[in-house]
């Protein structure tokens, strides 16, 4: 069963790689979905460069959001920052009620069209999952363990670095995984404000009534999401196994 799962992941990865390198090979598969002799493969920008751009934007936003959210979570779980805890939680929750499209559209006058408003929207959306999971992970470290670390003469910083963060790492990583997957999907919507992501392919398909474009854009994003999700799950599993031993 596990072998089968691994085999289909590898097949998915290979398929995605070949599709991005030589999309023209797949033209016959997509051709029945087009009408009026429209091209079967998106030709406005190369799919490979759009994919790389999409990934770069997602990666940068997830990295920035994770760094800030983790820093904040560490801060509010220290005794000195404890008074900020309930409030920061409420704020992060309220932030999630802003629809991505609204964030994109409203930041355009400040940042212009393109990647910048998309980055900001992804960044804002990425904060909550990491923050919530880091809070859960850090406050889930049992008081006995913390006390033992304190008893062995560790300073607060040492306890954080050597005990609390390693113990909370799998849960924090799960938060980063959620954040990355959400960003990957939201980056598609970024093309409504002219960001160079795979959403461009989907929107081009919607505007010209070409289902082949919509399908290939959607499929690439879905394949990326499945592969990235699995990679994170694999690392999480390894971390948990190391903690257990």
């Amino acid at each position: 069963m596990r072998l089968l799962g691994a085999a289909w992941r590898i097949a998915l990865l290979l398929g995605l790689g070949v599709f991005l390198a030589r999309p023209d090979l797949f033209a016959p598969i997509f051709a029945p979905l087009t009408r009026f002799d429209a091209p079967a493969i998106y030709d406005g920008t190369s799919l490979l460069s759009l994919t790389l751009n999409h990934l770069a934007l997602t990666f940068a936003a997830t990295l920035a959001a994770s760094a800030l959210a983790l820093g904040l979570a560490v801060l509010v779980t220290r005794p000195a920052g404890a008074e900020f805890l309930p409030f920061s939680r409420a704020l992060a929750n309220a932030g999630q009620t802003f629809p991505p499209v609204a964030v994109l559209a409203l930041t355009v006058p400040l940042l212009g069209f393109g990647a910048a408003p998309t980055f900001l929207a992804l960044f804002l959306y990425g904060l909550l999952p990491v923050f919530e999971n880091a809070l859960a992970g850090l406050s889930g470290v049992s008081p006995g363990v913390s006390e033992a670390a304190r008893g062995s003469g560790m300073t607060g910083l040492q306890r954080l670095r050597l005990v609390e963060l390693p113990l909370a790492a799998p849960v924090i990583l799960a938060g980063i995984r959620l954040s990355a997957i959400v960003s990957l999907g939201t980056a598609t919507v970024g093309s409504t404000v002219a960001a160079k992501t795979l959403g461009e392919v989907v929107i081009a398909g919607l505007l010209s009534g070409n289902t082949a474009f919509v399908l290939q854009g959607g499929l690439i994003v879905a394949a990326l999401a499945i592969l990235i999700n699995d990679a994170f799950l694999w690392v999480e599993g390894r971390l948990r196994a190391r903690l257990a031993s």
Binding site: F98, L106, V202, I203, G218, A222, I226
Partner: protein, 396 residues
């Protein structure tokens, strides 16, 4: 001794979060309070509080700001902080409406006055202080709903009284009033209808997954994959199949099913809603302790009685949490439906982006955020009330 004691005493009297909020408020006071534009699409010129308002009203706002800063920075009871935040917010909202009449030359119907970044920052600071106070007051679920209803009533009063009629946002509204409510109804129907349909499908499916262990992994992984397809693409992909259904299934067209429009958006929203509802139903039912179910069996309850009187009520808070996630998410994603002709508030957002008319974007975005926020508060309160009543029953 007194030298050493002084900083300790002052740090106890100063509210550190309040200092942060006060800094945001000061930034808001420096940034332009209102924007004046010669017509609806040119970039605006900003004016500070003193430039955007008649002197007496500017002074009043300044005074309110000083009171606000004091209430924020000092350690005063949460109720005082709440009052200070609410008062500044109310005054800023009232006065930004007044600035429209003050800045617009008489008889000029092209000029637009919009709230500036200073107004938004100031309101944000006021909301932060009020929100922090509400968190500290630890209101019971009903109390929070009451605060929400009061706030919405005040907002309704503000809009109804005509105090904002001079602002560009309401001028955009004025020229498309009917369209606004029609798209609003469509948005609500899409978001709430899809969640209702997803509940009808997802709850039995979750129950089935709970009972039949072999089904669980398969169903959840299919729903997981569905979740990874980005919303715009899923909307687009459903156009084809639904167009086929409309053309080939008798009566489908009469039901309003067609390739473009609301039908593919509705189906896609239902698809996105299934994963959280099914997985939370499974988790909630799995969390019901075996001993409780055994006790119910011992009391002679039949299988269906156990399900409806014991298992489902105990799982309800977790299931409802899933519904809350989905509802807030769908209210947001429904804006994207406008791209495939599905309507909803997204229509104004995308029109606004196309015309670079930010007031129009706001006309679509503001009610969406308000709707999502209201839904989140109401359902959070319901979840808390349910888990509270379960806990009380368990103690008895």
């Amino acid at each position: 001794m007194s030298v050493l004691a002084a900083p300790v005493a002052s740090s106890r009297r100063v509210d550190r979060l309040g200092v942060l909020i006060a800094l945001v408020a000061i930034l808001g006071a420096i940034l332009p309070f209102a924007l004046f534009r010669a017509n609806r699409i040119v970039p605006g010129e900003g004016g500070g509080i003193a430039a955007a308002l008649p002197p007496a009203e500017a002074a009043l706002l300044g005074l309110a700001l000083l009171c606000f800063l004091a209430a924020a920075v000092l350690r005063v009871p949460a109720a005082v902080k709440l009052a200070a935040g609410a008062a500044l917010l109310a005054l800023a909202c009232l006065l930004v409406g007044r600035s429209a009449g003050f800045l617009t030359p008489p008889g000029n119907s092209f000029a637009r006055v919009a709230p500036g970044s200073g107004f938004w920052t100031l309101s944000f600071a006021a909301l932060l202080l009020a929100a922090d106070a509400l968190v500290r007051l630890r209101l019971p679920p009903l109390g929070r709903v009451a605060v929400l209803v009061l706030a919405l009533a005040l907002l309704g009063l503000l809009l109804w009284s005509g105090a904002w009629d001079g602002l560009s946002l309401l001028k955009e509204y004025g020229t498309r009033t009917e369209r606004f409510w029609a798209e609003g109804r469509r948005h609500v129907a899409l978001a709430f209808g899809s969640v209702a349909a997803a509940c009808l499908l997802g709850l039995p499916l979750g129950l089935l997954c709970h009972r039949v262990g072999r089904l669980r992994a398969g169903v959840l992984s299919v729903l997981n994959i569905l979740q990874t397809v980005p919303s715009i693409a899923l909307f687009g992909l459903l156009i084809g199949p639904l167009a086929w259904v409309a053309a080939n299934v008798p009566g489908a067209r009469a039901l309003g099913i067609s390739g473009i429009g609301a039908a593919p958006a509705f189906v896609a929203l239902v698809g996105y809603s299934l994963l959280p509802i099914v997985s939370n139903t499974v988790v909630g039912l799995a969390g019901v302790s075996r001993s409780v179910v055994e006790a119910a069996r011992g009391m002679g309850m039949r299988r269906s009685q156990r399900l409806f009187r014991v298992e489902l009520p105990l799982a309800a808070p977790v299931v409802l949490t899933g519904i809350r996630i989905v509802l807030v998410q769908n209210i947001g994603i429904a804006t994207v439906a406008a791209l495939i002709g599905g309507g909803g508030f997204g229509v104004f957002v995308f029109q606004g982006v196309g015309q670079t008319a930010m007031d129009l974007v706001l006309l679509g975005a503001a009610p969406t955020v308000l709707l999502a926020f209201t839904a989140a508060v109401l359902l959070d309160a319901a979840v808390e009330a349910l888990s509270g009543s379960n806990r009380r029953k368990a103690e008895r």
